[in-house]
Symmetry: C2
Subunit: 595 residues, 2 copies
């Protein structure tokens, strides 16, 4: 077993070094050579670390760069470097010698992670990518930042030699069965009659779901829906090398389309930010990752500029990130996404929200036992002494009291016992929820393309000023959704000032109905809606809606809604659904103005 | 999904509270009541914490005790308690509210663990069990001690409501197939045609291997061997509710015997000791656990007195611990096991050894990149600055140089870069191994019963004085094995002073031949044996060998062996194998005296 493992590691190393024939010409450009020469000749004006100094002498080496990256990052920390310069070309990165840390990342899956760029407690550093392609293999994260301040990462691309989803062409479909044709590189095999996907090192890539994508349009197939496959899908191999599986209650699929086997876990986001302040990601491509493209929690002042989450051009892959392109949890300050592309990721383009913990038990007049009830939030220790929080009725989602944390004790990743500075109101009870109420981020999303992905576009839940402008949406579900609930996902929302202007909503809503009731919609889980005004002050102006589904706006529990100056016209590309009377549906709202 | 999980937790809680009808009469005995009364009446002479004070008021409550245990342990830490008193009766312990920590435990499997009694940095504490049964459910450890000093645990039992192995009766066997009958509580189900075992909460208990046990003798079946089943074993359910599986190359099995599906991972030892000093375990029963009964690493001065690792009486279970009963890695001072029982565990009774790390690369004249090559040792950071180490040729396993650590940097759980205080010898090269050479424990194993388990009895690898006396062995493989190798398991051995006296070896060697070449044997992995004298000074005197296999002693690479005053007679209980000429086999040894 151990020897086999060793052999696999070696094989993997050899096989990856030749990925796509992209290997490493021009690892070192003229500017860098000049800079490095200068550095050795005289005192450098900036403290700069060159990754090339830690790599093999041969700049075209196919070595695993992980150990060199670890050493270069250590040096940055040690000398307080201002710049870390990558060499250009392709860097292969394996898990084997990468840094390691257990991470609980909200809305992703916890694990002991191997991480290439593990930056903890680093300040005022710019990572100059120089166009480097980071080609990762297996279960290893690209970047994880913990308690960092003022970090810039720019000019690089992130890809994986083996993707975390499997993509198979629908070869045929019959009564109760599908037949899939996988490319050899997908690594499809049967183990005990169960369909598995393994890379050239034997690493397995578990899956749980199926979703059909239109191979011509390169987007979610018309009205396609998720199918829960489980992790033990029986299959038979046909004589021509295809795999036949039971269709279950999946319904139809179009031969020639691509069926995507969704990753069972979100283990390695491309960029993880934990408790950071000041982060700029610029001119960065995320072609693939295992989980979200960018996930930030308990962080502030984050800007993404010209960040592309999409499949690597020429790869032929349908899927980019295996989950949301971006996601922001309990963040503050500003969140900006400018001139970005979020395409073909396996979930929403963004979700900006806080976390609710549920009251498990009232232990004392000033003390609650709280529980994370969404396992995707386990271990996110956002509650801190001195924090202002809100107490919320999980039936109406309305806040009914402000409280302040005196002390907190985390039992484990599921439970926290919190002592407050004053007695709690008498009506606090089990299943009510609490959330941070201590400053919310201002959000600007401008000039972005968002589409072709699974599910929705922007899930907006910040109570700060939020502006969405000059974007193009082509999402299969709602383009903009106001979520938030305290009974299932436990995500805090409730916008206060949302402006949606000058966008094009181009043929959205081609997916299934569970992904949103309209192009711009409320989807909050509010059991008692009549008196709830969970959201406030939403303005939709000067947008163009090119519709294939007449459901443009569907709101409830909003106080203050303005709809003006928008253009609506029908798409010619798709069949059109629904009647004109579906266009704007408003229930349980106040102060609504529609032109 | 989340709601289902919640429901399961609740169901589990309700179902466990009635386990075996053993629930909790007399949670509080008269002595305790008196003591607690006194404590409130006057200053206690000892700092004592009563767990009952943290449990529900109702002493017969079926509540999950994990949170109360966590609070009581916190209080012990806070006040520097000398005693933690358990209430007697049965305490149910669930994972949900238990403490949490990621642990790398040698020869077990790493994971983020829930732990009932998590003692870190605690000193001079006695946990008085008062006969309490700790009835754990699911994936939660009983005790884990980290950097503790002078801890005693006594008078308690540890069991699990659902075992980590599955036991099925061989109902029938035919051409190429077996049919198993599982009791309902085993939770056998088919998922995608794959045989799975789940408890009443839906938790799955993965397996990997098969091993047959004799249902009448309650021990490993005659010449039975392990069979690698994998974690995806296809099965069919028969009309009478049995499960039929392919036999593969397993061979025969006797209908009526018990087939044990071995646990896929060793996640929750009953007692884990990491970097501890001074531990006494007294009058403790380990009826079940997920991994080893007691595992100590980098610890010193450990005594087990009247510790029983065996199936709970009356449970009908065949297996106790799912792996070794005890295991000691890089320990020092003394290790004593006195009047213990190690019966029906799913692996050896003990293994006392150090760790070898392999040279992956010579980085500089005074610097090595080292790798743990046995994945079971990953993350055991035993190398520390100032430590004396030995450099060992992995072909002969002979030490050829002593070196001293200047600094160590752990890349992750697999690799360490070590700088030494002086240049290394010129012949150091890849695949040589290094180990701590800085004091070895003295070992006393006296008055113990060891048998009926899988594999071997005692694997002895300490270079300190080691005495095995007055024990009774009934092991299916070697009763006493001298192991150690630097190419596969990477376990440091090489005894220097081993005395085996006054023991009864009663009908050992009824298992398969891979479990040892004789009752007392060397099993070290030494590729070049001729010049190697890896072990030294072994004396076997005044023992009784009741043989069913004539292979009594088989040694190689030993310098100094004395065999005197032993009695040999044949067992009448089993068929006898081999000829008298097999009794003592000595190769590549020096200074051998046989009476």
């Amino acid at each position: 077993m151990k020897r086999l493992h060793l052999l696999c590691t070696l094989l993997c190393f050899l096989s990856v070094s030749g990925v796509d024939g992209k290997m490493t010409s021009g690892h070192d450009d003229a500017r860098q050579a000049r800079e490095r020469k200068e550095r050795h000749g005289k005192q450098s004006p900036e403290k700069t670390v060159y990754l090339q100094d830690y790599l093999d002498l041969d700049p075209s080496s196919s070595e695993d760069a992980a150990m060199a990256i670890g050493k270069a990052v250590d040096e940055c920390r040690k000398i307080g470097a201002e710049r870390l310069v990558l060499p250009g070309g392709t860097l292969n990165i394996m898990p084997d010698r990468a840094s390691e840390r257990y991470e609980y990342i909200s809305n992703n899956d916890p694990s002991m992670k191997r991480i290439a760029f593990l930056l903890d407690g680093i300040e005022n550093l710019t990572i100059e990518g120089n166009g480097t392609l980071l080609m990762l293999s297996g279960f290893v994260s690209a970047f994880s930042l913990d308690a960092c301040r003022n970090i810039t990462v720019r000019d690089l691309s992130i890809d994986y030699s083996h993707p975390f989803v499997a993509e198979g062409e629908v070869a045929a479909a019959g009564e109760g069965w599908f037949e899939f044709r996988f490319p050899e590189k997908a690594g499809a095999v049967l183990d005990g009659g169960i369909l598995c996907f393994r890379d050239s090192c034997g690493r397995e890539y578990p899956y749980l779901t199926l979703l059909e994508f239109d191979s011509r349009r390169r987007e979610v197939a018309w009205h396609a829906h998720d199918y829960w496959l489980g992790d033990r899908c029986r299959a038979e191999k046909t004589e021509d090398g295809n795999y036949r599986i039971d269709r279950g209650d999946f319904g139809e699929a179009v031969p020639g389309n691509i069926m995507v086997f969704g990753a069972a876990a979100r283990l390695h986001p491309a960029f993880t930010l934990l408790d950071c302040s000041g982060f700029l990601l610029e001119n960065v491509n995320i072609w693939s990752c295992c989980g979200m493209g960018v996930i930030a929690q308990c962080s502030r002042d984050i800007e993404l500029r010209n960040v592309k989450v999409e499949p690597s051009p020429g790869s032929g892959r349908m899927i980019s990130a295996s989950a949301d392109a971006t996601h922001f949890v309990n963040c503050k300050g500003y969140i900006r996404m400018i001139d970005c592309v979020f395409r073909n990721q396996k979930d929403d383009a963004t979700n900006i929200h806080g976390l609710y913990m549920a009251v498990e038990r009232v232990i004392a007049p000033d003390r609650l036992l709280l529980k994370w009830r969404n396992s995707g939030q386990y271990g996110v220790r956002f509650i801190k002494p001195g924090m202002s929080m809100e107490l919320v009725d999980n039936e109406t989602m309305m806040s009914y009291a402000g409280i302040k944390v005196k002390s907190v004790e985390y039992l484990n990743s599921e439970y926290a016992e919190v002592e407050f500075t004053a007695p709690l109101p008498g009506n606090v009870k089990e299943n009510h929820v609490v959330a941070e109420d201590d400053g919310y981020p201002d959000v600007l999303i401008s000039g972005c393309y968002i589409g072709n992905n699974r599910a929705r576009g922007l899930l907006l839940g910040s109570r700060g000023r939020t502006v969405v402008e000059k974007c193009t949406f082509h999402t299969p579900g709602a383009a903009i959704l106001l979520e938030g609930d305290g009974n299932y996902w436990y995500e805090q929302s409730g916008v206060r000032d949302l402006l949606i202007r000058d966008n094009v909503f181009d043929s959205c809503m081609y997916g299934n109905k569970s992904w949103g009731s309209a192009c711009i919609a409320v989807g909050s889980g509010i059991p008692s809606r009549e008196s709830s005004r969970y959201h406030r002050n939403v303005t939709v102006e000067n947008n163009t809606f090119i519709t294939i589904d007449n459901r443009i706006v569907n709101l409830y529990c909003v106080d203050g809604f303005i709809y003006r100056g928008n253009e609506v016209r029908e798409s010619s590309d798709y069949p059109v659904c629904g009647s004109a009377s579906d266009r704007i549906i408003i229930n349980d709202c106040s102060n609504v103005e529609i032109d």
